[in-house]
Symmetry: C2
Subunit: 379 residues, 2 copies
């Protein structure tokens, strides 16, 4: 493994382990992040339907934003001129930006990839763009997040062996170029030092995962992400691949699983040694009228909620559970009232944040196995 050549490397400490699960902390220039940690997604520079002060109050520690969207609207340079992403989003805690690769590759009909770049048409106006490793680093420097990502190629779950293998090779080359571009700027963005993550690809093929980890750790990153999962594979395979990949990654480095946000899934990837994760699921589910509860998902549209005076979840400290009845929340959902989206968003993020915090406490006190099985029993 190569040294980091002085690149930003926010100190990460594993404080406790319980099986493969770990509880840790990252000391970022914008404060300490306790892990495991779920990051709400703020695609276009806002977590949908929730203000940053409430997000902070419910215990969110890191917020994610999407380079693809922000680079196209309003433009990374606009964000930079407006003072950078922290000012723009009014989030003074750590921010992570993805590289935009995932969004581009999900535009299968318009994306064309070769080793130099990936070209695609904007979802906003059809205009043609090319993302190179150098460009996505430059975009992320202009945006000014604290945690930034390499450009990677993320094949769909239906990809064949050769496509997945090709994606590993290309992702490796791009990682090298991203690191070089990052180093050239001394690891600095608009708003201070940025810690760059390498992204492991390899689909569900153990040999390719091994190869991807080996190549990336050769290049040397301060932290690693597990990409290319939850793209259609079955859950057992996803979890087996996570377990393998996490076990191959350096033990002293932060591990970020890209794209998981269902309560059961989170706990299972924590059990396999993942520290960080993000997903639109809790917020998107909320906007569809469904609340997470400790006895499973609650679809407020169901008529049985119409006269319910119960809260969504007894003891939950969110605004919705602070007095709104299920009946009132159902009315807001049925009438498509914005307050319904706001309250369910806050609730689902509160639910997940508390769940992950409980998982952390369980790891710290060596009770993770019983916590995990009690959760499986409840869901």
């Amino acid at each position: 493994m190569r040294a980091l050549d002085g690149l930003p490397d926010f100190p990460f400490t594993v404080e406790a382990r319980d099986g493969a699960a770990r509880a840790g902390r990252i000391e970022t220039p914008r404060g300490t992040v306790l892990t495991p940690c779920f990051m709400p997604v703020g695609t276009k520079g806002t977590v949908k339907a929730i203000a940053p002060d409430r997000l902070r109050a419910l215990g969110a520690q890191v917020v994610l934003a999407n380079t693809y969207h922000l680079a196209l609207r309003p433009g990374s340079e606009v964000v930079r001129r407006l003072g950078g992403l922290h000012r723009f989003m009014q989030w003074d805690g750590p921010i992570l930006t993805d590289s935009g690769g995932y969004q581009v590759f999900s535009l299968r009909d318009t994306a064309r990839v070769d080793d130099a770049s990936v070209t695609f048409r904007s979802i906003y106006d059809g205009s043609k763009h090319a993302f190179t490793p150098e460009r996505v680093i430059a975009e992320q420097q202009a945006l000014g997040a604290d945690l930034i990502m390499c450009l990677d190629q993320c094949p769909p779950g239906t990809a064949g062996l050769s496509e997945v293998s090709e994606a590993v090779r290309r992702t490796t080359g791009w990682a090298e170029r991203c690191r070089r571009a990052h180093l050239k700027a001394d690891g600095l963005g608009t708003d201070g030092p940025q810690m760059l993550f390498g992204i492991v690809q390899g689909g569900v093929v153990p040999e390719l995962r091994r190869e991807s980890v080996a190549r990336l750790t050769d290049i040397g990153f301060a932290a690693y992400a597990i990409g290319g999962l939850t793209v259609g594979e079955d859950r057992t395979t996803m979890l087996d691949t996570t377990e393998l990949t996490a076990s191959l990654l350096p033990d002293d480095r932060l591990r970020y699983f890209m794209g998981i946000g269902d309560p059961e899934g989170l706990v299972e990837v924590i059990a396999r040694g993942v520290d960080l994760f993000d997903c639109v699921l809790p917020t998107r589910t909320a906007r569809m009228g469904t609340a997470f509860t400790s006895s499973g998902r609650l679809n407020l549209r169901n008529a049985e909620n119409a006269l319910s005076t119960q809260p969504l979840e007894e003891g939950c400290p969110c605004t919705a559970c602070g007095g709104f009845s299920r009946g009132a929340l159902r009315h807001l959902v049925m009438q498509k009232e914005i307050l319904g989206l706001m309250l369910l968003t806050e609730h689902n993020l509160t639910f997940l944040t508390r769940l992950v915090s409980t998982a952390r406490k369980a790891i710290l006190s060596g009770r993770f196995a019983s916590f995990r099985s009690s959760l499986n029993a409840a869901c």
Copy 2:
């Protein structure tokens, strides 16, 4: 003027006068309301895009909800079974419900009126309904607001003299029946005593306004509303009619102007002796991307805001002005992000609430005329 026969009559005191403008206070069972007071509109049981705790924090004192909408969805009886409107909306301050008359009469194509009732088709499912004076009182009793309204007939601004005259006659008859229904229930709703307002009609015809006031004060109400304005007449006529009507109403009774919410208009009706008002304008304007500022309306869609690092309004204590740049807010508006609606809604309500509070202070200190002219100069 008839005595109130023991009907609920929340004490109203005029604390100071400056010209016709007055500063006062209403002692309701849910707390003191300082007047003049702007009431945000929560049509379907929520002020759109803002949670009740923020509404309270920005200084809102009374919230209005619409009987028409709530009687149809989810149904007043459902609200009652869910604990009444205060629990339903999570608003522990005073609530005012309108009678639904205004909404019904704006459905010109389906509404049919005679002295017995007004029949109409629901905007939700086309089903047929009849509102009688007795029914709208019963609906409002079930909902459980603190301030409730008589059923009135509100003719459009284009109505001829005979239609307006007929509406005064009918509104008078309905007011008598509403008061009787109210008395029959001892002035009590689901959630405690309710203070009933009579509504003055008469269009822009001085003689009809005089007649309406005379008839309603004969019947005797604890408070009076000025209805039938801001329905298309020009502003000078509206203000002249307000001035006349307010001057005719009993000096010791609360006066509520139904449906005004632009900053300049509020100050002008305050100048004419109005204590209470409501309008969807500030919140609807916000959802269209326009912010109130002391130098006029600011349409965030305008390209000139794209790179502006300024706040909407220097010194405004709302969340938007707490750090969001105009550029960032413009981005949220352009991208139709819910947070944009939330922030502008909070801002516009904060702006109006502070404006009315400043008007109150000016009245209390005898400086209302200079406040009013400084505002006219700024706008």
